[in-house]
Symmetry: C2
Subunit: 244 residues, 2 copies
DNA sequence: CGCCCTTTTGAAGAAAATCAAGGGCAGTGG
DNA sequence: CCACTGCCCTTGATTTTCTTCAAAAGGGCG
């Protein structure tokens, strides 16, 4: 059942043939539930499996020398985590469950084999990595203006949720605390709070009960200078600031 | 001749068999010289070739809505640029020559074919990507303290230069202007200057004539909280703050 | 009911940006 | 040969943004 998150994600990355689907469905996935705030993968681990988030939200983070935490990415259902297994490398960061979630563990060699036989699958894995990287680069563009940063993060998460069917009509679940948002943007929780309140007062968004409602999408994308094309760079086309 | 940069890099990523070497040497590389400050790849381009920097330094950057520039990575000889070709994707960033340099253009399909036949080559490309990503994540950890950020960037660049034989005995070429360093760290050139002067006054480094000399490596790595293991995560071992 | 986690608010302080201007050095051209 | 020009580095004064510290107010849950 949960396995569908992987198919949904793959289908959003490439056009899957029936054979691709069969190959994916044939993969044996070990479903591991992880409770909120528990680690999915720890720093220094050498995962020997390929991991996919099947349900819930997770975050990648690293702890600084001074003990502060920086979140370097959020993971939604269908996202891969710890592709390090492919490279027999150790994790230089940790992954934590933001909400209760279920992780799928796949045999790394089996994934390799499928990727080798089905070019589309291989392509999909590369594209997923490409997006990961593009998102990291976008995050590096933040840092100047907190208002813009928060707006951009909300746009990113809304579009990504939408891509896997978790957002509609301007609403989506956003199970992040303000502290987590701050850790992702490199600002304090206090400052995050003030920025979010400004976005609320200006009637750009509503954000409460871990539910995001985009009230004024044009204003939000304008504030964020958001262009969604980096989230699907293989699609030719004009820059697009729309969220849906 | 220049082609050796690719072999040097590959050899630093994986153990190459003679057959791997032959396969790499058999690749036809189109050598394209690019003058300082000229574009290697432009934003929006859809590269149909696989690019490798053969000599010189380059930088990946993106221009913000307000016109400011953020450098999101530096490229040294042997580094790949625009792997987007693998995914038939358009570049969401641009690449510029920091110094005069030579780029190698390889046929994407030919690289694909070699990667499919030689597992080590495929592995090497993945590892290179993994490092790219790890570097991006480290850069996200900056942003708190400019002194630490500058120190960390210097450590990163020194180690990367060293890996491809461009650094020795605490010295390496560092052809960056202070403005470029600032654009990479998200701080102004003025502030960059003050930080570098502090590092100089404290006798931690010498930096002039585009030549970096590490005078006090322990002090530098301490200031940076530097641990080089993210630059070769497949090597098991303790954290290492050493630069050589 | 009371506890913990999260959000909210206020005031003071620090880091870095901004603005402005001077100086060194290399290359160019008269 | 020397003035000129452009690029980069340097320095100072002021302002903005964000942090830090502190404390209070909600809100869900045992």
């Amino acid at each position: 059942m949960q396995q569908s998150a992987l198919l949904t994600k793959m289908a959003s990355l490439v056009t899957l043939t029936d054979e691709d689907r069969r190959a994916l469905e044939a993969l044996s996935i070990d479903e591991v539930p992880v409770a909120r705030r528990r680690a999915l993968l720890t720093q220094g681990a050498r995962p020997d499996h390929f991991h996919v988030l099947l349900s819930g939200w997770a975050a990648r983070y690293e702890v600084r020398a001074d003990g502060s935490r920086r979140i370097t990415g959020f993971m939604l259902p269908g996202d891969f985590c710890g592709i390090h297994a492919i490279c027999h490398a150790s994790m230089d960061h940790a992954i934590i469950a933001i909400t209760d979630c279920v992780v799928g563990r796949l045999d790394a060699a089996a994934v390799d084999a499928v990727a080798a036989r089905q070019p589309a699958i291989n392509q999909a894995i590369w594209r997923a990595k490409l997006i990961d990287e593009a998102v990291l680069r976008k995050w590096l563009l933040f840092s100047t203006d907190a208002y813009q940063s928060v707006a951009h993060l909300l746009c990113e998460l809304y579009v990504r949720a939408s891509t896997v069917g978790l957002a509609a009509r301007g609403r989506c679940r956003l199970p992040l605390t303000q502290e987590e948002i701050g850790d992702a943007l490199g600002i304090t929780a206090v400052h995050t709070n003030r920025v979010i309140q400004r976005l609320r007062n200006e009637r750009v968004i509503d954000l409460s009960q871990h539910e995001l409602t985009v009230l004024d999408a044009p204003a939000l994308t304008r504030a964020a200078a958001f262009d969604r094309s980096y989230l699907a760079p293989w699609i030719a086309g004009e820059p697009s600031a729309s969220l849906d």
